[in-house]
Symmetry: C3
Subunit: 107 residues, 3 copies
């Protein structure tokens, strides 16, 4: 199989870490904005505004692959509705999606 | 300790998310191709072709640190044998391995 | 909300994978060096120096967002005290912190 048959699409990988109790609400917002999916893992840890989260039911680590435009919208939502009130942190990275069509904006 | 004693080798970090039932098969392929290791975490989530995976036994998130040549081979394998048939997604990122020798191709 | 209101600070994301038994010790060192937090997830896997870790109580995957100076210090510590003796691996990536103030060095 030639390498040319593998699509590599430059996209963003946004990782959000929040208290587990926020997972359902965050996921609804992520999908409502138009992301085609997400990956969630159970996590624990400590942040500058958090007490040790493992004592409080734990954290969730949500990864979303998305384009720059959708990322801007999601970050605006986090900045407005989550960062002021909750121990939510997020970081953004460049990545190459190796499946392309799956991560296109669906709305 | 001087910073020069810390080796930083530019490599790729490939993250694969698949149904948990595929983990053993994927891991066998990853190691057979020559990767020296992998890191797996339990995950759940939703993708454009998936139903909510947590209802189906969950997902596994597999990370593999590898060089570009091996990454091409692994992506070719995923493209040929997994993407057409399974709800497998993957993304690739640049990284700096800070231990060097561990991730060299072993075959 | 304008995009300008979202702070994006270029930082490093260091991911450390180690035997679970090392988690408390690693976390104490990470915080003592001045990192403002970390995110930990349960993991399993295989590396070139490890037996299959899931048979031995599992691994922990620790993520730390930090600046370059602090990363150098933490890597020096890993190189001196962990890499020679334990099945610890680590990789470093660039990322954009989208919350800024949280990850500043606190000491």
């Amino acid at each position: 199989m030639s390498d040319e048959s593998i699509a590599r699409i430059p996209l963003r990988l946004l990782t959000i870490v929040a208290e587990s109790i926020l997972e359902d609400r965050l996921v609804r917002e992520i999908l409502a904005l138009g992301a085609s999916g997400y990956t969630a893992t159970r996590a624990h840890g400590q942040g500058s505004r958090e007490t040790r989260a493992s004592e409080l039911g734990g954290n969730v680590r949500i990864e979303v692959v998305l384009d720059e435009s959708l990322e801007r919208e999601l970050l605006a939502r986090l900045t407005r509705d989550y960062f002021p009130s909750y121990a939510v942190i997020a970081w953004s990275q460049s990545e190459e999606d190796v499946r392309g069509a799956k991560y296109r904006r669906t709305r």
